[in-house]
C-alpha cells in the first residue's frame, strides 16, 4: 500500500521533537541549539532568510554552531548569501549543496569556496526564478525566517522589510515543511498580520532586531559630473522620446543622478507628469526630491531601506503601506511588476562585450544575479500595449505588420566607459567565460543577454541596439560608445559615422547637450543632508552618511 502522507507525518515528528524545547510555539534562545538539532535531519533542504536586506542572523549563527556529525549535507536554498555564517556551514560540512541568487557581500569568499570544491553548486538564479522553484523542485523542508514581532499564536509582523518571507512561508508551510521564525520580541498583538500564525510552527525571541544592510542609499555627494552627463543623456535621449512612465532603476550612481535630475533638468524639459510616474523600486532616498516635487504617483517596493521608515509612513499615497501605517514590501510581486508592468529597466554593470552581453563576474568575485536578469529581460508573455513598448517594438522589427508585432521592453545599460580603478567596462571577452570554464558550468553567468539589451548609455552617447540590423552593426554601435577603452579605440570610424547619421548612435551634441553643462549644481540634492531636509526631517540617514 502506497503511503501518501509521509511529509505530513514527518512534519508532525519535527513538531513533536521541537516542542520538547518550547513553551507553546516559543523556543528560548538558550534552547535554540538543541531545538535545531532536534528538528533538522541530515540532507534536509533548508531555506535560511538570507534576503537581499534582512538576515535571520540569530538562526544563521545557531545553524553554524551545530555538530556536523549529527546534522550534515544540508541543501541550502536561499536568496542571498550575505552573512559569514552562510558560508561557515559549508566549511564545517553542515551544508553541502547550494541554490541561491545573490552573493554581493560574500563575493570573494564564495568564489574561493566554489573553486576549492567546498560547495556543490546547484545553480545561481534570479530572485523570481528561485522563488518559482520553491514551488516545483526546490521546496524547503525547513524555513528559518526573520520577522519583527509575533504574538503567541505565531502571527508574524514582518513590517517594512517583509521582502521574501510570504513567498518562503507559502512554499514551505503548505507542502509539509516546518517554519521557524526569529523575532525581536513577542507581543500581545502585532501591529498587522503579515503571516498568519497557522503557517508558523515555532518562534525564537532574539531580543534585538534582525540585521539589515543599507544597500540602496547613494550619497549625492559622490555623484560625478560624468554620471550627471549620462543621466542627462538618458532623460533627454530615452525617457522623453519613448515617454517612459513605468520603470525600475537598478541601484547605482548613474540612476541616482537621474532621480536627482528629475526636479531640475526634467522640469526644464517640461517632463513632469509625462515620465517616471509609476515605479517598481526600493525606497531610494535619492527619489525624495522628485516625490516631493510631485513627479511620482506610486512606488511598489522589493524591500525597505534603512532610515526611510518615517518618510514612507508619512507618504501613504505613494508607497504600499499596511493598516498599521508601515511599508509592506514584497520581493516576488515587485519582481513580477518589474517584469510585466514596467516599460523600462535601466541599470549598471561591470562588463559589456561586443554582442551586448553584460556581467558582474570578475576573475575573483562572484556576486550572483539578484533581480537584474528578470528586470532586464523582455517578457514574451506580455500582452498589454503602451507607447514606449510599441515604439521600441517597431524599431526592432520594422518589417512585420503592426498587429503581429510584439512590443519591446526598454532594457538599458548605463555607465561610464571606465569603471572603478580605471578598469574598462567594455571588453572583447567577458571574465564570466573564464569562470564558466573553471567551474565547469553549462552557461557563463550573464546578467543581461545582448538580445534583451535595447540601449547602452555612456558619457560618449547612446547606442540604440534596436536599430541595428546585424551583428556587425551591433558591434560597431557598442564600440561607438565605448570611449577610449581598447574596444572603443578599435572602432571602424567610417561605420560608426554612418550609424550616427542613422541615429543608431547619438552623441550629446546630437541631443543638444553640452558636456560642460553637466554640473553638480543641477542635482536637486547634493548631499545626504539635503535629502534629509527635502524630506522635511522624516528621512533618518544612517550614521555612516552623516557630516553634521
Amino acid at each position: 500500500m502506497t503511503a501518501w502522507d509521509t511529509q505530513k507525518k514527518a512534519r508532525y515528528g519535527r513538531i513533536e521533537a521541537g516542542s520538547r524545547f518550547a513553551e507553546g510555539k516559543v523556543v528560548s534562545k538558550d534552547a535554540l541549539p538543541r531545538f535545531l538539532d532536534a528538528v533538522l535531519k541530515p540532507g534536509d533542504r533548508v531555506c535560511l532568510e538570507g534576503d537581499n536586506q534582512k538576515q535571520a542572523d540569530l538562526l544563521a549563527r545557531a545553524l553554524a554552531d551545530l555538530d556536523p556529525a549529527r546534522i550534515h549535507d544540508l541543501h541550502m536554498v536561499q536568496s542571498g548569501v550575505v552573512l559569514p555564517e552562510h558560508l561557515d556551514i559549508f566549511e564545517k560540512g553542515i551544508a553541502r549543496r547550494l541554490d541561491y541568487s545573490y552573493s554581493g557581500p560574500q563575493s570573494a569568499r564564495i568564489a574561493r569556496m566554489l573553486f576549492g570544491g567546498q560547495i556543490e553548486l546547484g545553480a545561481v538564479h534570479t530572485y523570481l526564478e528561485l522563488f518559482a522553484r520553491y514551488f516545483i523542485d526546490l521546496t524547503p523542508n525547513v524555513a528559518l525566517i526573520a520577522a519583527v514581532s509575533a504574538d503567541r499564536d505565531g502571527n508574524l509582523y514582518t513590517g517594512p522589510n517583509t521582502e521574501d518571507t510570504p513567498t518562503v512561508v507559502e512554499a514551505t508551510s503548505f507542502k509539509g515543511g516546518l517554519v521557524v521564525a526569529q523575532i525581536a520580541e513577542i507581543v500581545d498583538k502585532v501591529p498587522r498580520v503579515d503571516i498568519p500564525g497557522d503557517q508558523v510552527h515555532f518562534l525564537v525571541e532574539a531580543k534585538k532586531p534582525f540585521y539589515v544592510e543599507p544597500l540602496f542609499t547613494r550619497d549625492p555627494g559622490a555623484i560625478t559630473e560624468t554620471q550627471i552627463l549620462t543621466a542627462m543623456l538618458a532623460i533627454k535621449g530615452l525617457y522623453q522620446p519613448y515617454g517612459v512612465t513605468r520603470l525600475n532603476h537598478g541601484i547605482g550612481f548613474n540612476t541616482a543622478a537621474i532621480e536627482l535630475l528629475l526636479p531640475t533638468y526634467g522640469e526644464k524639459l517640461g517632463l513632469k507628469g509625462k515620465i517616471c510616474t509609476h515605479w517598481a523600486l526600493n525606497p531610494h532616498p535619492t527619489l525624495i526630491p522628485a516625490i516631493e516635487a510631485g513627479w511620482v504617483e506610486q512606488i511598489h517596493c522589493f524591500g525597505s531601506e534603512v532610515g526611510m521608515d518615517r518618510y514612507i509612513e508619512a507618504r501613504p499615497d505613494i508607497y504600499f503601506t499596511g493598516a498599521d501605517g508601515s511599508l509592506r514590501s514584497h520581493r516576488a510581486f515587485c519582481q513580477t511588476a518589474g517584469l510585466y508592468a514596467c516599460d523600462m529597466f535601466i541599470g549598471s554593470t561591470l562588463q559589456i562585450d561586443l554582442a551586448g552581453h553584460s556581467s558582474t563576474v570578475t576573475a575573483s568575485r562572484i556576486a550572483g544575479f539578484g533581480g537584474a536578469p528578470n528586470m532586464g529581460s523582455d517578457p514574451h508573455g506580455r500582452r498589454h500595449p503602451s507607447e514606449a513598448w510599441l515604439k521600441a517594438g517597431a524599431e526592432a522589427d520594422p518589417a512585420s505588420p503592426a498587429p503581429l508585432r510584439r512590443g519591446r521592453k526598454l532594457v538599458v545599460q548605463i555607465g561610464e566607459t571606465f569603471g572603478e580603478k580605471n578598469v574598462p567596462t567594455f571588453v572583447e571577452r567577458l571574465d564570466a567565460l573564464d569562470l564558466a570554464d573553471k567551474l565547469k558550468l553549462d552557461l557563463a553567468p550573464i546578467m543581461v543577454y545582448g538580445d534583451d539589451v535595447t540601449h547602452i548609455v555612456t558619457e560618449e552617447g547612446i547606442a540604440n541596439l534596436l536599430l541595428c540590423r546585424d551583428a556587425d552593426e551591433r558591434e560597431q554601435a557598442i564600440r561607438g560608445v565605448a570611449g577610449y577603452t581598447d574596444v572603443g579605440r578599435g572602432r571602424d570610424k567610417k561605420m560608426v559615422e554612418k550609424l550616427r547619421e542613422r541615429g543608431v548612435i547619438r552623441r550629446p551634441e546630437d541631443l543638444g547637450i553640452d558636456p560642460l553643462d553637466a554640473d553638480r549644481r543641477m542635482l536637486a540634492a547634493r548631499s545626504i543632508k539635503d535629502l534629509m531636509l527635502a524630506s522635511g526631517g522624516l528621512y533618518d540617514p544612517p550614521s555612516r552618511f552623516r557630516n553634521w
Binding site: G221, R520, R526, S527, M532, L533, G537, S543, R544, F545, R546, N547, W548
Partner: protein, 296 residues
C-alpha cells in the same frame, strides 16, 4: 547658493572676495611645488595645495589664503606652509588683515619636520600680526575640517567663522580611536565626531565665534563682520582667555557627552541640535552659548 563645503579653494576665494578683486601671489604658473613629494613618487600640485593673494572685501583690502582640502587632505608641507608664513609677514608690513580659509588634516607625513616648523612659524606670525592690531580671521567649513597643526593655528586667530559641516580639533577621530580604543571614541560614529568637533558644538562652547550656513555668501558676510571685531593680542587678552578656559573646564569638565554640555547651556532639546536648521539654531544658541567676550 554656493556650497562652501563642495567648493574648491579658488571657488571659495571667488565667493568671499569682491568680484574681480583677487590677485594671486606665487600662482600655479610659477610652479613653486613641493621639493619632497617626488621622492615618494607622489603627485604634485602647482600651487602645493594653497592659494594665496590679495583681494578686497566690501572695498577693504585683505590678504587671503585658501587651502585645497582635496589635495593631500589639505595638509601642510614645506612650500604650502611657507606661502602662508610669507603672507602673514606681508600682512604686518602692509598692515592688512588676513583671512585664512582652512581645510586641512594637519601636517603631511612626508614633510613632517618642515610641516611642523611651518606650523610654529605661522603661529608666531599670527601672534606678531595681532600684537600689531591686525585681524587674522579663520573660516572653517570644508571636507577635511581643521585638524592637527591647522587646529593650533586656528586657535591663534582673532575670530573664527564655522559652518555645521566644519570640524575643529587637534587630534583627529581616527587618532583618538587608535590611541584610546573604539569604546572611548568610535571614529565611525560620525554623529559623535560632529558632536565633539563639529561647528555647532564649537559655536556653543565658545571655540568658534560666528556660525553660518554652508553658503559662500554667508561666509562672506561673516568674514566682513569678523574683520570688524577686536584683534589685539596682549597680556590682558591672554589673561581673559585663561580665565575663560578655566571657567569652561569648571563648568563642563566632568561631562563626557556633548548633549550634556548643551543641556547645561540651556538648549531646550539637546538631541535635536544637530538637526536644527541654521536660523533656528542661531535663534536659540545665540544667547545661550558660551561667549568669548574679549578673549580669543
Amino acid at each position: 547658493m554656493t556650497s562652501w563645503y563642495e567648493a574648491s579653494a579658488r571657488q571659495r576665494i571667488d565667493a568671499l572676495a569682491d568680484p574681480d578683486s583677487f590677485e594671486e601671489f606665487i600662482g600655479p604658473e610659477e610652479r613653486e611645488i613641493s621639493p619632497h613629494l617626488a621622492l615618494f613618487d607622489l603627485p604634485e600640485q602647482f600651487d602645493d595645495g594653497i592659494v594665496v593673494g590679495k583681494a578686497r572685501l566690501s572695498g577693504q583690502p585683505i590678504l587671503v589664503a585658501a587651502q585645497e582640502g582635496r589635495f593631500m587632505g589639505g595638509a601642510f608641507g614645506e612650500v604650502h606652509g611657507a606661502k602662508l608664513t610669507g603672507l602673514l609677514r606681508a600682512a604686518r608690513e602692509l598692515r592688512c588683515p588676513v583671512a585664512i580659509l582652512f581645510d586641512t588634516g594637519g601636517v603631511r607625513l612626508q614633510e613632517a619636520n618642515a610641516g611642523e616648523m611651518a606650523i610654529a612659524e605661522i603661529m608666531r606670525e599670527i601672534v606678531l600680526a595681532r600684537a600689531a592690531d591686525i585681524p587674522v580671521i579663520g573660516l572653517i567649513g570644508g571636507r577635511a575640517g581643521c585638524f592637527g597643526g591647522g587646529g593650533l593655528i586656528a586657535g591663534c586667530c582673532s575670530t573664527l567663522v564655522i559652518s555645521e559641516h566644519g570640524r575643529l580639533s587637534v587630534s583627529g577621530p581616527e587618532v583618538i580611536e587608535t590611541n584610546r580604543g573604539a569604546d572611548e571614541f568610535d571614529s565611525k560614529d560620525r554623529a559623535l565626531v560632529w558632536r565633539v568637533t563639529g561647528g555647532k558644538h564649537r559655536y556653543l562652547v565658545g571655540g568658534a565665534d560666528l556660525f553660518v550656513e554652508d553658503d559662500g555668501g554667508a561666509f562672506r558676510q561673516a568674514a566682513i563682520e569678523a574683520l570688524s571685531r577686536p584683534a589685539a593680542l596682549d597680556i590682558l587678552v591672554l589673561a581673559d582667555e585663561q580665565e575663560r578656559l578655566e571657567r569652561r573646564l569648571a563648568r563642563f569638565g566632568a561631562m563626557n557627552e556633548a548633549r550634556d554640555i548643551w543641556a547645561a547651556l540651556g538648549m531646550l532639546r539637546p538631541e535635536a541640535v544637530p538637526g536644527l536648521a541654521t536660523e533656528a539654531f542661531l535663534a536659540e544658541a545665540g544667547h545661550k552659548r558660551e561667549h568669548a567676550h574679549d578673549a580669543r
